[in-house]
């Protein structure tokens, strides 16, 4: 398994000698010890199912009263006032920021991550391949709060002129109109920092699939006179495509849910700020809205509104991860 993603493709493939997946089904003796131990193992499995279900159910249960009292449309409103007898809150702005930030992160992280994975598996000299993989994994070991303070205090000021340039030359595109937010705290910048955080995830999983490309495919391509790049394009990439997709999905799940780095870096907008499409604006994602207001959870109603936002985030990541899972499953069906 790669420690970074927590998901492994080795789970899905047969053993090293092509042996069938393990089975010792008939080995239980039905004695007390066996029944207890088997029961405990099964119980732990059921507990995991129960935990995930509970997360969904509890969030829903806590969110419903607040949603019922909500005077604005939860899905389309831009307001967020959760106090008083007539709370009005909606998620459309949070959704926009969350999705754009993640999209920017993926646009950068997927090509670079795949290229790094190709480098590690196909191009790196043998002595470099392992250390290179470990180095990229180290990126995943850096705690996200460290990315946050580094982004805000060190990387941000460096990025400032880049943003000025973008605003100056591309300002006529709505995505790049200036919004008076300093360079180190815009949606675009957070997307770039998230890309760095997601990169090791994309790399780790893609690397694993690329390494599994059948040697016969690769040698076949080379024997037909393909250059190394053509070999990669015709043998490695098609074989690894489902892996790349699921790696991207896992990365996307991570980007959608990243909290503290976004909270630290992205500057929040005042209430009633004008809507813009600009990537050079501030904003809040689901996660950072919750984190920014963590101190305000004093009444069930207020907490309920934030829990409702958390629920949407949970559903989003659930869908994304489920897609990743389905893609891996389908690959398994084809590769055997």
């Amino acid at each position: 398994m790669s420690s970074v993603t927590g998901v492994s493709l080795a789970d899905e493939t047969p053993g090293p000698h092509g042996s069938a997946p393990l089975s010792g089904d008939g080995a239980g003796t039905g004695r007390l010890g066996d029944r207890l131990f088997g029961g405990a193992a099964k119980g732990a499995g059921l507990l995991v199912i129960a935990l995930v279900t509970l997360v969904g159910v509890f969030l829903l249960w806590q969110a419903i009263p607040a949603l019922a009292r909500n005077d604005a449309n939860f899905l389309t409103s831009r307001e967020w006032s959760v106090d008083g007898a007539h709370p009005r809150f909606g998620i459309v702005e949070l959704l926009w920021t969350t999705v754009t930030v993640s999209a920017i992160a993926m646009l950068i992280a997927v090509p670079v991550g795949v290229a790094v994975a190709l480098f590690i598996t196909q191009y790196a000299p043998a002595w470099l391949s392992r250390p290179a993989a470990s180095l990229i994994d180290l990126l995943a070991a850096v705690p996200s709060i460290v990315y946050g303070i580094w982004g805000l205090r060190t990387f941000g000021p460096v990025f400032e002129p880049v943003q000025g340039f973008l605003q100056h030359t591309l300002g006529w595109i709505p995505l790049f109109t200036g919004a008076g937010i300093s360079g180190g705290s815009t949606i675009l910048f957070v997307g770039i920092v998230l890309a760095i955080m997601v990169l090791p995830i994309v790399t780790a999983l893609s690397r694993e699939v690329f390494a599994q490309t059948p040697v016969t495919h690769k040698e076949g391509a080379l024997a037909l006179g393909a250059t190394r790049w053509e070999m990669i394009r015709t043998a490695v990439l098609p074989f690894g495509k489902p892996g790349i997709i699921s790696a991207s999905m896992l990365g996307l799940g991570r980007a959608l849910g990243e909290t503290i780095a976004v909270t630290i870096i992205l500057s929040t907008l005042p209430d009633g700020a004008k809507w813009t499409w600009s990537l050079l604006n501030g904003g809040e994602t689901f996660a950072s809205r919750i984190a920014n207001n963590a101190a305000e959870f004093d009444t069930p109603q207020k907490a309920g509104a934030f829990i409702a936002a958390g629920l949407v985030l949970f559903v989003l990541t659930f869908v994304v991860n489920a897609i990743a899972r389905v893609v891996i499953e389908r690959r398994k069906a084809f590769s055997e």
């Binding site: 789970d11 193992a41 995930v52 806590q62």
Partner: protein, 336 residues
């Protein structure tokens, strides 16, 4: 292995045949084809005279791809080096002070220098170990269920749920525990609630790595044990788990590294305090991530220094766990 041995007769037989025909016909074309077949693809571009205009384009593309892959790798290293350098250079001098490892921040304002991080280090370690104590048994049992017992639909469901749990954003885990602990049971926010949220994040890492290791244990070992009449549960406890032990330890250490660097649930469940607290069930408990979070908005130099120093301490702890995990994996992996 098999592919390379089956492939090796191919070129040699081909070149033998070509040289035989070359002696009879002395054709330059056959010599050229053998040359092309025998040269490794990477050096193909060195013989442009025999390749046409199109082939030169292909060679250029191949070189270009190589450059791009190297560039992507070096690009990915930039943030890693930059972050480690920033945090290291700004934080190291406080760590050299013995006070850092012995004192807390009690009574020390942002304006004042001095004080240490022992309260936060202690809190991080206590919460990390408690989390591990809860999630390791559950995780290992779930993995045992998946590998040794689980068949059919339930096992699929458990495996799917583990994947979903992998993708649950940390802030959602925090919100869930908040909904359970505070709004439903009406309890205070304490260290133990944080541990519960971290358990949610640690279980999937432990499950996946343990599962991987259990799958590597040769089936022959299990069968030998069954043949001697050992019950299944004893086989698992005495044969399978000890064989996979080092791999499991690696997984636990990596999981621990992940949860110790986690900040988002702490924002909701574990507010910061400046004095030493060791009671998981009463009062607030400071941790390194919340200590960083506390000082991140400061502009006064002593507080900023402490922020970098605590970030460095956190990185050191997390890296130490990662390195320890990899060393254990290297020296004690399952022999095939």
């Amino acid at each position: 292995m098999t592919t390379s041995t089956t492939a090796s007769p191919g070129p040699s037989a081909g070149s033998a045949g070509a040289s035989a025909s070359g002696t009879s016909r002395a054709g330059a074309t056959s010599a050229a084809t053998t040359g092309a077949a025998a040269t490794p693809p990477s050096t193909r571009g060195t013989a442009p005279t025999e390749l046409g205009h199109k082939a030169r384009g292909r060679a250029v593309k191949d070189q270009l791809a190589r450059v791009v892959m190297w560039a992507a790798f070096l690009l990915a290293l930039v943030p890693l080096v930059w972050i480690l350098w920033t945090v290291g250079s700004k934080g190291y001098h406080l760590l050299l002070d013995a006070q850092w490892w012995t004192n807390s921040q009690r009574g020390i304002t942002s304006r004042r220098e001095g004080g240490g991080a022992v309260h936060a280090i202690q809190g991080t370690l206590i919460q990390g170990l408690t989390t591990a104590a809860i999630s390791v048994p559950i995780g290992i049992l779930t993995a045992i269920y998946l590998v040794e017992y689980g068949r059919g639909r339930l096992a699929k469901a458990v495996s799917f749920m583990v994947d979903i749990l992998t993708g649950v954003p940390s802030i959602v885990a925090g919100l869930f525990v908040y909904a359970l602990w505070v709004t439903t049971f009406g309890l205070q926010r304490v260290g133990f609630a944080v541990c519960l949220a971290l358990v949610l994040l640690m279980i999937p890492v432990v499950v996946r790595s343990t599962e991987e290791m259990l799958k590597l244990v040769p089936n022959e070992l299990r069968e030998a044990s069954y043949a001697l009449g050992v019950p299944k549960w004893k086989t698992i406890m005495k044969v399978v788990l000890p064989t996979a032990f080092s791999g499991i330890v690696t997984g636990v250490l990596l999981g621990l590294a992940r949860v110790m660097g986690e900040t988002a649930p702490l924002l909701i469940l574990g507010p910061y305090t400046k004095s030493i607290a060791t009671d998981l069930f009463g009062g607030l408990m400071p941790t390194l991530p919340t200590m960083i979070n506390q000082d991140r908005t400061e502009v006064l130099q002593p507080a900023v220094d402490r922020m970098w120093a605590s970030a460095l301490t956190l990185i050191l702890i997390v890296l130490l766990l990662n390195v320890a995990g990899r060393v254990v994996a290297r020296f004690g992996s399952v022999k095939r």
